[in-house]
């Protein structure tokens, strides 16, 4: 995305740039500096420094109250060979990346397709399906956990009335993650709306032309719609994967509410991962180790590993971007 945009910029403006530098009036440097300075400073303080400091802390033992103690690779040894929960946390996070992201995108696409065909009151339908995405995530999780309560929640009650014995949803380790996927589907309005706009953006002429060439519906979807949607699909995949890698709020709140444990006294870590570590995500594990147990050194090691994994994902995806030329999309 970056490379192609910069390239297209360069492609269109070589000549004028040279002309500008020959003009008598210089572009005042201070304007550029003053405009960029806050952002560069921000990058230095809140991105570059913490990144390097995290790597630094990962080789220490530090609990914020005492001093810093160098322990070399001990944190990493523990992480890769002795930590009983890090594997589960990583697997859970990966599960969300691999399942939550595609499910959301496919359902959003399908619904957008359906909406694209509704002529009248399409704005109305669009609002209905987009509203859940507006709800603050904490509110929707609390609502869902209550609604899916195995004994007294409406979902199981309705299922019971049609003869189905509902599962234990957020209280069953096998069903807890799928329950969050259901929540993710409920709020897929945010990507559905983008798909809808992109779908409606496909020029009619393309469909008419392919129809004249004898293409049926499925072929049209494959050869006209999907290629046109490619950049938007790609955008959704990238943002989806990034969000899944840092999945925290929904899982943490769901565990806390579903476990029914009083949080007074024991803090946010008391029900983490409930039920049975099934909702323990990597981001939560960093939080528990860092801010629950105050093992900042070890939590930094966990963070560094996440950084490496996320960077690999990002690099792979940036490679893929080269394949899609965004200038075709409008």
């Amino acid at each position: 995305m970056t490379a192609t945009v910069l390239e297209s910029e360069r492609a269109t403006t070589p000549a004028p740039a040279r002309q500008l530098t020959r003009r008598p009036r210089r572009r005042p440097r201070w304007a550029v500096i003053s405009m960029l300075a806050p952002a560069v400073l921000g990058l230095a303080i809140f991105f570059v420094y913490p990144l390097i400091a995290s790597i630094f802390f990962s080789f220490t033992r530090y609990n914020l109250i005492g001093g810093i103690e160098f322990i070399g690779l001990r944190n990493y040894v523990y992480l890769f060979t002795q930590d009983p929960q890090v594997v589960q946390a990583a697997l859970n996070t990966l599960w969300f990346v691999v399942i939550l992201v595609p499910v959301r995108i496919i359902t959003a696409l399908a619904l957008a397709g359906l909406l694209a065909r509704a002529k009248k009151a399409s704005g109305f339908w669009r609002t209905v399906f987009y509203l859940p995405a507006l709800v603050p995530p904490v509110a929707s999780v609390v609502a869902f956990v209550f609604l899916f309560n195995p004994g007294t929640g409406p979902v199981n009650l309705i299922l019971k009335s049609i003869g189905i014995q509902g599962p234990l949803w957020f209280n069953d380790p096998a069903w807890a993650k799928p329950s969050l996927v259901l929540l993710g589907v409920w709020v897929m309005g945010d990507i559905m709306i983008i798909f809808l706009a992109a779908l409606l953006d496909v020029p009619r002429e393309l469909y008419e032309a392919s129809s004249l060439d004898g293409a049926n519906g499925v072929q049209q979807v494959r050869h006209v719609t999907i290629p046109h949607l490619a950049p938007v699909l790609f955008f959704s995949v990238i943002t989806g994967v990034i969000a899944a890698l840092q999945y925290f709020t929904e899982a943490a709140v769901a565990s806390g509410v579903a476990s029914g444990k009083a949080t007074i006294g024991q803090g946010a870590g008391v029900a983490i991962g409930y039920p049975d570590d099934s909702l323990l995500t990597y981001a939560q594990w960093i939080y528990v180790r860092g801010f629950g147990n105050y093992q900042f050194g070890y939590a930094s090691a966990l963070a560094v590993v996440l950084f490496v994994v996320a960077s690999v994902f990002v690099l792979i995806m940036m490679r893929r971007v080269g394949a899609f030329n965004p200038s075709e999309a409008s």
Partner: protein
């Protein structure tokens, strides 16, 4: 783009009348069923919010008595007004600060070439894409040593120095401002700040609005940030944190909690209805251009 939204797109130019009617009915039936499923959770939450506490513990769908007073009790049970206030302070100030710092930076990155611009932009992309947990610990240590934890300041102040996602977004929008306009202004002797203020900003208003909206909602819905920095001080809790956390020694009172949930949803929905056009335009522009 919005006018396009009303145009019907695709296929079936030559479908038979009967078949197209059947298709129309089945499509709309599907839409209705899905709409019911999507709205049902909100309806049930609303019903629960009007039940008595005892009834919420039983398996029932419709309130036996419609206890509207629950909505008043919410304010008596939890400092909801204070939480809303904190959320508003967090969201509004971080958005304002973000715009002040990010718009100029995005302009430079979009319109002005200089050595190092690609490094900076690359760093912004990476900063945008990395999970916050990677950088959160040293930043927390820093704020702790400055004795600023227990407030929303660690969440608001960084916006003074720009926000990676917003800069990226704004840059994409500023790229669409044709170079002829900025060149002409420069020929007339305008400095960068003037060009930015007089030309680029008015032309990229939808983009700026979109970036502002994103920033606002990111702050409004933020849970992790407040968890880290405000959990120790109840007076600083925003709504997102309060709703998830406030469970008194007597456990959760579900009717009050559901009433709280509805109240938390209301401002956002209202904002949407008033700013619908800006909303939809901004979000679709982001997705299509991003």
């Amino acid at each position: 783009m919005t006018t396009n939204a009303l145009l019907l797109a695709p296929p079936r130019v030559k479908a038979g009348r009967a078949r197209s009617a059947l298709v129309w009915v089945s499509e709309h039936l599907a839409l209705v069923i899905l709409a019911v499923l999507f709205l049902a959770p909100v309806v049930f939450v609303f019903f629960t919010s009007l039940m008595t506490s005892q009834q919420t513990l039983t398996a029932s769908l419709i309130p036996k008595t419609w206890q509207w007073s629950n909505y008043l009790d919410v304010f008596r049970t939890v400092p909801l007004a204070q939480w809303f206030g904190n959320s508003a302070i967090y969201a509004i100030s971080s958005t304002v600060l973000m715009l002040l710092s990010s718009v100029p930076a995005a302009y430079v990155l979009a319109k002005i070439r200089f050595r190092g611009s690609s490094i900076i932009f690359g760093a912004i992309i990476i900063a945008m894409l990395l999970p916050p947990q990677v950088t959160v610990i040293p930043v927390y240590v820093m704020w702790a040593k400055l004795h600023l934890t227990g407030s929303l300041l660690p969440l608001i102040l960084p916006n003074l120095l720009g926000d990676a996602f917003s800069i990226f977004l704004l840059r994409q929008f500023f790229l669409t401002v044709p170079k002829e306009y900025t060149d002409a202004a420069r020929m007339d002797g305008c400095g960068d700040w003037t060009i930015l203020w007089r030309i680029v900003v008015p032309m990229a208003r939808p983009g700026i609005a979109a970036a502002g909206l994103f920033s606002f909602f990111h702050a409004w819905n933020d849970y992790f940030g407040p968890l880290l920095y405000t959990s120790e001080n109840q007076a600083a809790w925003p709504v997102s944190y309060g709703l998830a956390t406030f469970r008194g020694a007597h456990g959760t009172d579900w009717s009050i909690t559901m009433a709280m949930t509805i109240l938390v949803m209301v401002p956002v929905v209202l904002l949407f209805f008033f700013a619908q056009k800006v909303f939809v335009e901004g979000i679709t522009l982001t997705g299509v251009k991003g």
